[in-house]
C-alpha cells in the first residue's frame, strides 16, 4: 500500500455534532417532500439510489475499496424481491427480506473472492463478477431475460399500509433509506469504522497491530452489499419492475458517479450526488444518448478538477466534516 498523501481520497476529521445537525436538516427536508408538490416518484427513486451510493461509499470512502460492480446487488435484490412478490405472492415485508438476504448471500460469496486483491484489481474483479451475474440473469428463466419481471404487485405492508398509495409508499421508502443511512452512520463512527480507516490508510501497519484486515474488509463488503440490496428491494416497489438495466456495468458506473459528484468519503455526499444524477437523467431524458456523453464529461471534470465533490468542497471551505 502506498502512504497517504494529500492527493488520496479525501477524508476530513469527523465532528459528530455537525453531522447530527446536517442529518436533522436532511430528514426534515425529506419528510416535507409530499407537501411541496415535488413529483414523489422522482424523490423515491433518488432515495433508493442515495442508499445505494451510501452503501458504495462505505466501501470506497472508509475501506478504500472501489467496487465497480455494485449494480449486482441492486439487480439481485430486485429480481429476488420481484420474484418473491409476484410469483410466490409473499407480503411486501417478506419480499424486502428475501431481496436483501439474497444480496447479503451474494456479498458473502463475491466478497470471499474479491477481497483477495486490493486497489485497482479489486475494482476489476468486482466488475468482472457483476458481468458474470449479468450473463447468468440474462439466461436464467425466472428473470425473463430481456423483458425482466414486469407488473410487480405492491401490496399491503404489514397487512395495513397500502403501498399503491404514493404518499404511504414514499414514507416507507424514506424509512428504509433512513434506516440504512443510520446503520452506515453508526458503522463509520464505531471502533469497527476506525479500524476500516486504519486499513485504508496503511494496511501493513494495521496487520502489524494484530488486526485481521481481511475479516474487516469482508465484513464491510458484506454490510455494503446487504444495504445495496435493501435499496434494490425498495426500488422494486417504486419501479414495479426488475430488469437487466439494474445489473449492467453502466449502472455500476452511475453509482460511482453519484458518489464522486457528491464527495467520496463524505457522509452526505452520496445522497446529494444521487439526487443530482437522478435529476439530471430526468431533465435530460429528451437528449437520448447524449446523456451518456454528459455523464462521461461529468466524470472527467470531477476527476480532473473537483475530486472532493460538492459536499467535500463545502466541508473543506468551512473546515467542517460533513
Amino acid at each position: 500500500m502506498t502512504a497517504m498523501t494529500d492527493d488520496s481520497i479525501p477524508v476530513t476529521p469527523r465532528a459528530i455534532h455537525d453531522e447530527m445537525v446536517a442529518f436533522g436538516i436532511m430528514t426534515a427536508l425529506l419528510v416535507i417532500v409530499p407537501w411541496t408538490g415535488i413529483y414523489p416518484f422522482f424523490v423515491m427513486q433518488a432515495l433508493c439510489f442515495a442508499l445505494l451510493a451510501c452503501a458504495f461509499n462505505l466501501l470506497i470512502g472508509y475501506g478504500g475499496l472501489l467496487s465497480f460492480g455494485h449494480a449486482m446487488f441492486l439487480g439481485t435484490a430486485g429480481y429476488c424481491s420481484g420474484h418473491a412478490l409476484k410469483v410466490w405472492g409473499l407480503s411486501p415485508e417478506l419480499g424486502i427480506l428475501v431481496g436483501t438476504a439474497a444480496a447479503a448471500g451474494l456479498a458473502v460469496i463475491t466478497g470471499l473472492v474479491a477481497i483477495r486483491r486490493q486497489g485497482i484489481y479489486f475494482a476489476m474483479i468486482t466488475l468482472a463478477l457483476s458481468q458474470l451475474l449479468y450473463f447468468i440473469y440474462l439466461q436464467a428463466p425466472f428473470t425473463h431475460g430481456e423483458d425482466g419481471i414486469q407488473g410487480i404487485p405492491q401490496g399491503y405492508l404489514f397487512g395495513i399500509l397500502n403501498l399503491a398509495n404514493p404518499t404511504i409508499l414514499y414514507y416507507v421508502v424514506l424509512a428504509g433509506f433512513l434506516f440504512g443511512f443510520l446503520v452506515i452512520f453508526r458503522t463509520i463512527n464505531s471502533p469497527f469504522g476506525e479500524v476500516l480507516k486504519a486499513i485504508r490508510e496503511n494496511e501493513p501497519r494495521a496487520i502489524s497491530l494484530g488486526y485481521k484486515t481481511d475479516q474487516y474488509k469482508l465484513l464491510a463488503y458484506i454490510l455494503s452489499g446487504t444495504l445495496a440490496g435493501l435499496a434494490g428491494a425498495l426500488k422494486v416497489f417504486v419501479a414495479q419492475n426488475a430488469s437487466l438495466t439494474d445489473v449492467e456495468v453502466a449502472m455500476s458506473g452511475q453509482i460511482v458517479l453519484m458518489t464522486l459528484v457528491g464527495g467520496l468519503g463524505t457522509v452526505f455526499g452520496p445522497v446529494l450526488g444521487a439526487f443530482v444524477i437522478v435529476a439530471m437523467q430526468q431533465y435530460l431524458s429528451g437528449l437520448g444518448q447524449w446523456v451518456t456523453v454528459i455523464q462521461g464529461v461529468v466524470f472527467v471534470v470531477c476527476v480532473l478538477t473537483f475530486r472532493r465533490g460538492v459536499i467535500g468542497e463545502i466541508a473543506h471551505y468551512f473546515r467542517r466534516s460533513l
Binding site: 486483491r117 444518448q289 470531477c302 480532473l304
Partner: protein, 295 residues
C-alpha cells in the same frame, strides 16, 4: 469435428484480440499506473477509422492497418497530455474513473451518430496473387476449411504481440522503458525524457488496441459498442494473468480465447461466463494471478 475446429479457430481469433488488448493494458499500467478503461472504446475507434478511411477517402484495408493505429495512437497521446498526465501521483482509482468517463464520452458520441447496429467492412480483395484474391476466400486444410482472413488475423496478431515483447524486453528503448517503470526519478536524472516516454507508451498501448479494432472490423462488423463487453473480459484476463509480465499477458490472452472457443463447442450456455468463472477459480487458488507478483 468440423464444428470443434471452427470453434477453436473462433477462440484463437478472440484470443488474438484479448492478447493485443491485455498487452496494451499491461504496458500502459506499467508506465502510467493507470488501468485504461477507455481501451475498449479506443479499440472501437480503430475499427471506425478503418471504416472511414475506406468509405470516405477510399483508402483500403492494408494502409488502414497502419494509419488507424497511428491516428488513434495520436488521439490517445492527446488524451494523455491533456488529462491523464495530471493524475500522476494520485490514487490509482482516479485513473480508472477518468478513463471510464472517457469511454462513456467516446462510445456515446459514436452511438449518437451511428446507432447501435453494425456497419459492414469487407475483407480486402487485393493484392491478387494467383488464385488468391487478397484475404478473401479460404482453403481446405484436409481436416477443416480455413477462411484465409481468420488465419491471417491469428498469425498477424501473434507477430505483433511477439514484436512488442521483443521491443520491451530485448531492445535498448525497452530497457529505458522498464527502468522508467521501476524508478522514473532515477531514469530522469540520467537525462532521459520520462514524460515523453510515458506519452509514447500510452500511444503504443492505444495503438495496439486500435490495431485489434481494425483486425476485427471484417469479422465482427463496426459497432459503437463493440468494445464495451470485450474490455470487461480483458480485465478478467488481466486479473488471471497478472500485469507484471508481457509474455504472461500474451499467453493468457490466447489461452483464454481458446478455452472460450472450446466452451462454445462443449457447453455453449457457459461461453459468455467461462472467463469470469476461471477468474474466480484462479483468485481462489493463486490470488496474485498466474504470472503476477503481489500488487
Amino acid at each position: 469435428m468440423q464444428a470443434l475446429y471452427a470453434q477453436l479457430l473462433v477462440g484463437l481469433i478472440n484470443g488474438s484480440f484479448y492478447a493485443l488488448l491485455s498487452l496494451g493494458l499491461a504496458v500502459i499500467f506499467g508506465m502510467l499506473n493507470i488501468i485504461n478503461f477507455a481501451h475498449g472504446a479506443l479499440y472501437m475507434m480503430g475499427a471506425f477509422v478503418a471504416y472511414f478511411l475506406l468509405n470516405v477517402m477510399g483508402i483500403g484495408y492494408w494502409p488502414a492497418l497502419i494509419i488507424a493505429p497511428i491516428a488513434v495512437g495520436i488521439f490517445g497521446m492527446i488524451l494523455e497530455r491533456t488529462m491523464l498526465q495530471w493524475l500522476a501521483g494520485l490514487d490509482h482509482l482516479y485513473g480508472l474513473l477518468l478513463t471510464f468517463g472517457l469511454a462513456l464520452i467516446i462510445q456515446g458520441v459514436f452511438q449518437n451518430y451511428f446507432g447501435s447496429s453494425g456497419l459492414p467492412y469487407a475483407i480486402p480483395d487485393y493484392p491478387k496473387i494467383g488464385e488468391f484474391h487478397g484475404l478473401q476466400g479460404g482453403m481446405n486444410l484436409g481436416f477443416m476449411f480455413l477462411p484465409i482472413y481468420r488465419g491471417w488475423v491469428v498469425i498477424f496478431s501473434l507477430i505483433v504481440c511477439l514484436g512488442t515483447w521483443y521491443l520491451i524486453e530485448r531492445t535498448r528503448l525497452g530497457a529505458y522503458l522498464r527502468a522508467a517503470t521501476e524508478n522514473p526519478a532515477l531514469v530522469r536524472a540520467f537525462g532521459i525524457n520520462v514524460p515523453r516516454m510515458i506519452t509514447l507508451t500510452y500511444g503504443l498501448g492505444v495503438g495496439l488496441a486500435a490495431l485489434a479494432g481494425v483486425l476485427s472490423a471484417p469479422i465482427n462488423q463496426v459497432r459503437p459498442l463493440m468494445g464495451e463487453n470485450v474490455i470487461i473480459v480483458v480485465f478478467a484476463v488481466v486479473v488471471i494473468g497478472g500485469m507484471g509480465s508481457i509474455m504472461g499477458s500474451i499467453v493468457t490472452g490466447f489461452a483464454l480465447g481458446v478455452i472460450e472457443g472450446l466452451t462454445k463447442y462443449f457447453y455453449p450456455e457457459a461461453s459468455n461466463t467461462v472467463v469470469f468463472v476461471l477468474m474466480v477459480l484462479v483468485l481462489l487458488v493463486k490470488p496474485t494471478g498466474l504470472t503476477g507478483r503481489a500488487a
